[in-house]
Symmetry: none
Subunit: 196 residues, 4 copies
DNA sequence: TATGAATGAGTATTCATTCAT
DNA sequence: CATGAATGAATACTCATTCAT
């Protein structure tokens, strides 16, 4: 990023550009997300875009980061008022909310996640991994399992990645013989067995 | 594909083009995989490329199909000489071999798989899903579980996607605190619990 | 033309190529008339095409010449069994037949004539001019006009060009308020007045 | 057209591009009128060309329209200060001016007109037909013919097309035995007879 | 002689980036 | 600072022509 804008105006513009980037990728695809198009949707000129982002990639990167922050915030809020006592209930609630999030705003998040390979978005999932690991630790602290758990980081890694990536895949291309309910139930079962 | 190459020469060229496509994507990235570059690496002119593929996308598609076929062959071979009797052993062996495959040839497969979103490669995973579902059914037939299994398609879907996608992610970007052995163990555990 | 083919086989092939050229231009347009396409429609390879025509343009040229010859033959035949005694009748018959010719075989002639500018086809009309001039002279010899005609070449030039070019235009793009009959009547009137 | 150029600069550029298109077609032929060549002759880059014209065809179309407008203007001016009282004089004056126009600027108009088949330029002649029909009607109103005229549209159609197309042909490829004067005289005669 | 695969220059079009206004 | 016209390298794809088999 070329500048660290402190003024209101600048910060608002940067945010608008990032938002336009996300919406454009989500609604029109990565190929349509040209600098001119993004500037257009933001309501400014390309020149202004380049006032704040040296290269297109920086803008994409910023969009990714913004998305991660949003996802994090949602998950954080979710974890905060977590009242469930069973593992199943905990997992189910989490799954439902992540699902809703991915589907939200016309797949705003979903379509960006699909391009993570191009957008260097691995950090996105890495962040969520940390978050989930923390949540699991916290949960297990309050609800000690029958037998002591080991390899918690590995389990968290597997669980988070499996859920996230499979969810994205399912929403992107749902197979006809598997319903949303079945998938969630499947993952809930998985969570139970993983943490027995 | 523009022509149905029956002759030796043509078939060889088509294969070379597909191979060059895979290698180029793997080594230089999807963006570098231009028609001229691929032809160049194949050692022919662009014109020759277009003698066999109407559009660049068809070439990508063929590369994807080739990859699927290879993966399938490996998994098939694996299933053929399946001598293991425990679920764990079965899963472990499968995992090891898929892993080897994905890492093989400087991540030749891996890097292509990473672009599946752009390359309409969903079929790749869909095919493997079918294969895995068949293997699971076969396995359970010979080794009946304690209690009757239901939702086998759902479990297969979750298992295959979780393993495949998480594996790709792990190999692409391995976290320092999780070893390969740990990950495999984790998935083996998962397979046991999934099929109890 | 590269060769003067004396053998049956060669001559037949050259003719086939020319015919395929005309049909391709007529049915698929000038842009679609590529050497490969023409060879394909002829049922031979491009290589064979180049055995007889050094350049694509030579083939086009030959097609034009062939067309001219055909048109000439038709008009000649027409003039041969000309029995009409009035100028009007003579003109009307001629017009009707030329019209039929231009429309014949799915506009086979028409569509080629439309490209005369690109195909250096001016000679086509030049030839017909000569023919028509001859016919007029012949006609006037047998049916002497009231007053001696002068500027016969000019009148022939104007008449032939006007009729030919306007006819092509009319058939290519007929205006809704002018019927075929009206147009022919108009030209017949023109012929009468031109030769009084 | 991609943009509606309101500013001085833009409008001038669009005009330059159209002018370059006409000149290139006229001087180098339709095949040489590539986007790069046209941009080059305009003194701008290809990119600039595409800022104002979505496709090459749109540029050709604009060139055609520009030409039509110019021709119309000339004919209009001609009709405005029409002082002639005889049909012959009227026709002769019109012919002389159209001729001059077609020959003007190294055959700038002429060479473009020759490509009307490819350039969808039928509208060009259609417009002139309308103009001529109007002129004829106006003329006949002020100079009523001996006997009432019918089929005026047909006569106008024949006259305009015959004159225009034959003129283009004559200028493109003048036959040695017919002088310019003779041709004009021929058409003047034609006009007299057509409107008796 | 016939074939048709191979060539590669040529063409339209796009788009990230710059810079004069 | 903002603008958006201008740039031109890059890319997919075509097609006349050649030449090894």
């Amino acid at each position: 990023m070329r500048k660290r804008p402190r003024q209101q105006r600048s910060r608002a513009l940067v945010d608008s550009l990032i938002e336009a980037t996300i919406r454009t990728i989500a609604e029109e695809g990565l190929e349509a997300a040209t600098t001119v198009r993004i500037a257009e949707r933001t309501g400014v000129s390309v020149g202004s875009l380049y006032q704040y982002f040296d290269r297109k990639e920086d803008l994409y990167q910023a969009a990714m980061e913004s998305l991660v922050a949003e996802l994090q915030a949602v998950v954080d809020a979710e974890l905060a008022n977590l009242t469930e006592v069973t593992v199943s209930g905990f997992a189910r609630q989490l799954l439902e909310h992540v699902w809703l999030l991915l589907e939200a705003n016309n797949g705003r998040y979903l379509n960006v996640v699909r391009y993570w390979a191009q957008l260097d978005g691995l950090q996105l999932i890495a962040t969520l991994e940390q978050k989930a690991l923390g949540a699991l630790s916290l949960y297990l602290l309050h609800h000690p399992p029958q037998k002591p758990q080991k390899d918690l980081p590995v389990k968290a890694y597997i669980f988070v990645n499996s859920v996230m990536l499979t969810l994205v895949r399912y929403i992107s291309d749902p197979p006809p013989n598997i319903s949303r309910t079945q998938l969630i139930d499947g993952f809930v079962t998985l969570s139970e067995q993983l943490l027995v």
